[in-house]
Amino acid sequence: MALRKVKGNLERMFDKNLTDLVRGIRNNKDNEAKYIAQCIEEIKQELRQDNIAVKSNAVAKLTYLQMLGYDISWAGFNIIEVMSSSKFTYKRIGYLASSQSFHADTELLMLTTNMIRKDLNSQNLYDAGLALSGLSCFISADLSRDLANDIMTLLTSTKPYLRKKAVLMMYKVFLKFPEALRPAFPRLKEKLEDPDSGVQSAAVNVVCELARKNPKNYLSLAPVFFKLMTTSTNNWMLIKIIKLFGALTPLEPRLGKKLIEPLTNLIHSTSAMSLLYECINTVIAVLISISSGMPNHSASIQLCVQKLRILIEDSDQNLKYLGLLAMSKILKTHPKSVQAHKDLIMQCLDDKDESIRLRALDLLYGMVSKKNLMEIVKKLMVHMDKAEGTTYRDELLSKIIQICSQNNYQYITNFEWYVSVLVELTRMEGSQHGHLVATQMLDVAIRVQAIRHFTVQQMALLLDNVHFLTSGSAQSSTMAEVLYAAAWICGEFAEHLSEPQATLEAMLRSRVFALPGHIQAVYVQNILKLFANILTKAEENQDVDGINKLCEIVAANMPQFVSSADLEVQERASSALQLVQYLQKQVNKGDFGLASEVSALFVGELNPVAPKAQKKVQIPEGLDLDAWINDPPSESSEEDDDDDSAAVLRGINTTDIFVKSDRIVDGYYGLNNKSDKTPEPTEEELEMRRTARKLEQANNPHYLKSRANTKVKNDLNKNLSEDFFDVPVAEIELPVSLKVTGLASPDSYLNLDKRNKTQKKKKKKGKKERDASTDEEDDSYPLHVVNTDIGEMPEGAQLSDDDEDGDSRPNDDPHKALDINLDEPLRDEEKLPIRTHHLPDPVNHIIKSKKKHHKEKDKNKDRKERSKEHRKLKSKSKNKDRNPIEDEKLHGGDNLDLWLGHDPSGYQPVTSDGEKQAMTSEKLPTNSSRSEKGAGESVGSLGKSSKKEKKRSKELKKEKKSSLKMKEGYEEAAGISTPSKEVISDLQGQGLADLQGHSLPSDLPVDPPGGLPHVVTSYTKFAGDKTLQMMYECRLLPQESNQIVLSVLLSNQSQSLVKELDFSVCDTLAIKLIRGDCGNQYGIKLHFQLSPGSTSEAQFAFEVSDVTQPQKLRGTLTYIIEMSDGIASHEKLDFSLLLPCSSFMIGRLPHRDTVTDLLRGGQLTHRNSFAVSPVNRDFSQVLSLVCFRSHFTLVEQVEKTASLYSRSLLGHHVCLLLKADPSSSQISVDGKSNCESLLAALMGELRGFLQVPPA
């Protein structure tokens, strides 16, 4: 064997290893591909061998080839083989290869689940580490689901190295398996306070990543982070925390106020630039979120700006860059503070580093004022001339325009200047921003009426010098777009042209056809406008020659447009040509006066339309766009059904066109066919025709010409006159279409095809008033008036910025799924999936003893199966015993409102137990398997009460539903929580019956004389808040050897309805709540509601496995309190309950002789005694008290000596001998038992209450 191994190794030595491969590739530079192909063949050979060393060598080589771009997914199986090697060396190679080549969609991953689980649970620290590192690169949804629990377990590993990795890993799990987030979150939260700073840092990292995408769910963690921020010295972590706060503050301005001070301190104290920078960033975020209401925040702003200045002045380019970046954030809210540093920013414009120049440009935006605008723009223009590289130049150009046009040209005092700047900008070569410049030109020309004359002149010049824009290098440039604007402006405002004829000729010049189609189209249209303008003038002067000449020029040059490649241009040019020729004919005939008609084509003023106007057109009341206009056509219709509905739908979308057309047709055919007499069509026929017509119309907007669908058409022709009587009906059904047709004035709007078609003529009336008002507003601008209207909007519509509402994240963004409320308590079904064998259904735990047998069996079975987990749990349960004060401190901050309210005393203590529950029950699906495992491992209900937290109604419903389900369960589990005392009363009564023989001490509640055995209640208050009071009493079930019943009285002390009570306790090793058939959960839902002032009782059975020590129960009661105004809020009440040993004592004497037998038999080996001097009590009172409080039975009393007996639930015997010493008035108590600790505990108890004087 050994020999073979050595032999294998020797063979291996001469295989190519990674180094050889790399060297080979370097030596074969010329035919690298061929060499690598050859290597891959060798690798394939090696992979076929059995020797794992050879295989791993091959895989290592593959990993290298992967980096060079070779797909190695074909070797996935071999990679997995190497991963599963038991040797760390090979495993490492395997995991590296898998992390480089596997991804979430790799199908082979399903083979890896068990192997990875094995590695995660490996004894070797680094095996688990490897598995985690590898898994983080390729984890899939399936793996996340299957391994979530194992990774969770690693969170509590004793090794910080693994905890750290597991914490980071959880983030990846959440991304792929969002359901894990809620169950896992409590433990993740614990890790924020891990003793190891690396783990802490990792946890902060994960929470930051989670919170960055869904900040609102993590607001409640703010106190924890705040504490970390003020105590930690780990800069990495501080940076993350501070970044996180930056994301949280916009949601909670109060948080911002609390942060300002510590952040300012950090800014002053830290020497680490990275931390300083993040602090400044977050302070800025804070200041933005609370921009009002902070009196002294100007100081903070000043501090930030000052520090940023230091960064910007630094010689380190990185700091300079970041300084400018942060500065631009301040700029948005506090431009004044930034403006003070104009000099510095202007300096940065000259920086050699382009990134810095771009950042500085961003800032310039806020630097400008009316005074310095021209200066700054001039500087930028100079830069633009000098700049190399078109991208930077383009950036400059767009910045110039952005700076000038901001806030409706707020800073421009002289628009002639601006127009000249725009014209100047057109000279820039190779720019991609032609469209931007063109838009600006149009905008200025339209909005600034005073400047129009100048603008038009300039545009005429541009048109005259087209060659500058279209020549040479302009191929890649879009500057020709400017001609679009120029042509339109010259045409539209032709009256401002000094030489319209020259401009017209310039536009007709031959180079024009080289321009893009849409520009040519504008040319044609505006040539007509110019033509109309000149014609009008000529006509006034009776200049027939001039008109003739004009027409000739146009007619001569128009054909070049007619032959344009662009359809639209062709069409427009042909009509224009016909029009001009017709005009010429008419003029030559001596028919004047046509000019006014031609110009009538272009009357009407064009107003800017608001960008969102189309969207804002309100749907008229009563119009349902989804409803059928006509009844949906029946199947029997001639037409294909699909076509039909499509036609109707399309008909709705384009109603204006059709209704309009209908009218024309109506008139036309109406005239011609009036005399035709056709038989009255039946209702059915009419309906059929209507549908047919609709289809026809929808398919062909120009349907007057169309005769394609002959069958339908024939029908139509036959019955046209009747048919069209129906049309008005259709119109009435479509109120919207009527309105739209009313405003159609096609000619004047033709040029505005990009704009909104739905603007209404009515608006025109308002126009003048608006202009007047803007005039007033703009008084401060001496030179030109800008029409700063946002543009026309439909009536009643408001312009808003947030039209795009809703989550803008793409649907496949994993973070969308992680938008989960973490403050809600965990629901029953929320748990991490675990690996389980199929277990029998949980047995109903009712107070009937029959089912006990099954339970025992299950228990044993489970124990075996889970012994491993058991061990883990045990080690964990140690951690559990944290002292409550610490817990309080830890969780007190949970109440964000209180925390933010600067009220340190208002911390609402929330014991950690409530938060630590879940896991046990998750891991152990049946009650029976829970025994002796304790509650150590837990993921908790994130229960937390926050006043502002409001439940969404949907969830409420869900909960209601589940509580209903619970109810059914409880009816089977009789007696557990029925609000009735009867079940127990007679049991206790028996114990008490013995007491009846003796006079009851006066300080005890006395039964009604002669009454039936009745429970003497000794309810003790153990918890309460302002809404609820909780009292308890402990009762025993003698026929159940190991159960007690806790009867809890809940009284509602508030004025509101309390409902959805959920009682949950944290099971301990010794005592467990029996949860009926709802086996897996932690709490029990109470199915009653508490009206104001009412009291109800609930009873809970507990299984007790250790009676020898007093037991402490901790738990939580959650409930919903519903105010009178319908607001419901979740509340939580934590309690802890000390059950003394006497609670587990049954005071019944099986047989008179039992005690004698016991004492004689010597079983009671343990002894304990004490003496007390009971205050104000005589012997009989003491005796009664002992019997009552500690559940003892009086066996025999001889004068001042009495013997008592009791036994515990689990059958321990305790005998007491009470003797009163008349001389010292002391009572000595002697106890004997077969259980030492039980006896000691009981004696302690007795001594305790005997010393207390009666109330």
């Binding site: 771009g69 060396t89 190295y161 990495w236 380190d316 580093d353």
Partner: protein, 191 residues
């Protein structure tokens, strides 16, 4: 989150690539190529941040890089990472390499890309920063190397001898990669 970590030389040859988001091999090569083009045309005295590599991420992502002698170390990160922090992380990474390889040079990275990966795995896990403390990182790496040696034991001795013989052919390894002085700002960031 860190989306990718790339190491390539002055000619754009990849020396190590780690993607924390899945891209197929062709895409990976393309990203490396594009990143190289973006980074290589920048002077050494300009800032180390670069916005807008179009292939990875989008507007939220930044390239943060450092140039050491013949190698570029590029991290592609989103806005949840601190720019200066990542610069420092690169420094920690390179210093760790320097310690592990004793005066690291490009050749070390060429022939031991697997080791580079192992080292990186101790710094960054699944795109999140795992550890920044160099001592801790070095301990972990040494521990694992020890483990590997233990496993190899005697059986590996002949193999080691052979590889030593093979290595003799390598031309004198040039140890030219020197770490430049850190800017003050970075030195301040202590962990």
């Amino acid at each position: 989150m860190i989306k990718a970590i790339l190491v390539f030389n002055n000619h754009g040859k990849p020396r190590m690539s780690k993607f924390y988001q899945y891209f197929n091999e062709d895409m990976q090569q393309q990203i490396i190529k594009e990143t190289f083009q973006l980074v290589s045309k920048r002077d050494d005295n300009v800032c180390n941040f670069l916005e807008g590599g179009s292939l990875i991420g989008g507007s939220d992502y930044k390239l943060i890089y450092r140039h050491y002698a013949t190698l570029y170390f590029v991290f592609c990160v989103d806005s949840s990472e601190s720019e200066l922090g990542i610069l420092d992380l690169i420094q920690v990474f390179v210093e760790t390499l320097d310690k592990c390889f004793e005066n690291v040079c490009e050749l070390d990275l060429i022939f031991h890309v697997d080791k580079v990966h192992y080292i990186l795995n101790e710094l960054v896990m699944g795109g999140m920063v795992l550890e920044t403390n160099m001592t801790e990182i070095l301990t972990r790496i040494e521990d694992q190397n020890k483990l590997e040696k233990q496993e190899a034991g005697l059986a590996a001795a002949p193999a080691r001898a052979v590889s030593a013989v093979k290595n003799m052919n390598i031309p004198q390894q040039i140890k030219d990669m020197k770490l430049p002085d850190l800017p003050q700002a970075i030195k301040d960031l202590k962990f």
